[in-house]
Subunit: 352 residues, 2 copies
Amino acid sequence: MAIHPVIMCGGAGTRLWPVSTQAHPKQFHRLVTDKTVFQDTVLRLGGDGFAPPVVISNERYAGLIGEQLAEIGVAPGAVLLEPVARNTAAVAAVAARHVAAIDPEGLCLLLPSDHFIGRPDVFVKAVLEAASVARSGFITTFGIHPDRPDTGFGYIHRGEPIEGSVSRIAAFREKPDLETAESYIADPAFSWNAGIFLFPATLMISELQALAPDILETATDALNSAHEVEGGRLLDPAHFGTVRSTSIDYAVMESTSHAAVYAPLDCQWNDIGTWTMINELRQNDDKGGTVNVDATNCSVHSDASHMVALVGVENLTVVIEGNRILIAAKDHIQDIKNVVTALRESGREDLL
Amino acid sequence: MAIHPVIMCGGAGTRLWPVSTQAHPKQFHRLVTDKTVFQDTVLRLGGDGFAPPVVISNERYAGLIGEQLAEIGVAPGAVLLEPVARNTAAVAAVAARHVAAIDPEGLCLLLPSDHFIGRPDVFVKAVLEAASVARSGFITTFGIHPDRPDTGFGYIHRGEPIEGSVSRIAAFREKPDLETAESYIADPAFSWNAGIFLFPATLMISELQALAPDILETATDALNSAHEVEGGRLLDPAHFGTVRSTSIDYAVMESTSHAAVYAPLDCQWNDIGTWTMINELRQNDDKGGTVNVDATNCSVHSDASHMVALVGVENLTVVIEGNRILIAAKDHIQDIKNVVTALRESGREDLL
């Protein structure tokens, strides 16, 4: 009845181009510390009470996963490889089936691999506290204390208390407009939805059976027909390709009567969604060199081989990675995803 | 009694970093046309009336000179190599001695290799017209029609007419402040000093003998003791190192009674001193790719291997050359030389 971390690392963060690419997405880079974001995620869940991690990712990252786990000396419980992406409901179904088969009373901690947590001890303590509530029959989410009216996150409105910091969920709120976000952060009952879920494997199976039986069935078939490949087990493409693609929030959380939230969680959580956030967090220095001539408020992230000279410019984020160079105004940092779109439209998949 | 082009190509234009470097300065790059600036300079002086070019440069560029002349099928009259730079008076002395020895009645056309001329036919016609005046005993400069109050050039104030477009020189004027420059361009008697000189070799020798005999003597010794090296003749280091370093303007032109100017010359002359000028002139396209997301008034010069994405930025000049990246505000383009200074001070000669 251990807690089985199920680490999702199949995505590619386009807003961190050019460092984050399809071939080497952001979670596999040393963006903040001297470890990759994926490695930090694995390592913070390695203590008492946790089983070895289950890694779920796209098959193309099997090599990176193996290398990066070996680098930190962690043997995974399993590496489950998706032939195509089918969103988080499919992942939850596969994770629940996998864990239930090896540990019928086990809990799954389903979480993204591309978040930074500045106070891992606070996070782990919250998980362990939430685990006792989850075991009594809850799918527990984690609500991050919101320190600004961010319109890029969903919010959780917490309801009646269950135990300690865990409450029932009154409502999930989609990404709000700024005015609504400001009203949320003025109300201590609201927190950011971090997309982290803690649940008994068997409870998720029964909830999927009740609320999204097609997803449970096709995902189970894909897991049962999985076969060994280099670096992991490949979910059967014929079955996995037919799984309905939707989020666990829509498929289960918004309908189940077992939803709970641990909130507020104040663990210096950050989804490292943009270069601006990385600038704020960064603990490691730039590897390349910079010459600054009358430049103000500029951030440079260069690889080891380039030298960047800034002359008379201000408020720029500059990122150099191999043959790809990004020069962005800091107040347009959200538009980097449009670069990726433009490159894809012009057939430059080699640069994505 | 031909006109011997004496092409000076030993300098390195630091304001065009990172393309222009010590190892490969701007005159040896394809900055504007599909030929290098040096090649265009040689080719525009290849017609009737001109002897094969004499190239004077630093010894480190012997290889580049040989390659680039071969590429355009030009056999030089001589390649004279300086072990150290000793400014233009030394070059004029060497050029005059060299030409006088092979063509006692020959004229020297002493000119920089790093200028662009948009109307070479107009320029050549002016040189041929000025040659007849020069032969009668003048050191003739060329005054460019000034189309803006540029404070980066010296100005020539022309005096009484000699013949056609050639006049005596009333005065040389140092680089002026803006107010003075504005008064100059309002007066048709003023023109920019292009640093181009046309003179009988024997006249320059006699004027140097009268006005700067030490320069003539040491430079002559260096030429007489020159020895063959790969790619040219190396001026003897022991002698050439002792030549007083000063400009031909100071050493001769401001004192001689034989100074003349052909003016105004309107041949679309441009000293390609900054990236801004290159942006205006550029006939060849960028080799690398660019993605533009809400970027305005930016110029990108990238080598073939890099992709540059601009997001929400404006008024930037971006230059990529190998591992060196320049990002400059267009209104700070003159400060690029400070990048070179900073790199030198931090011991990064490899990037210069």
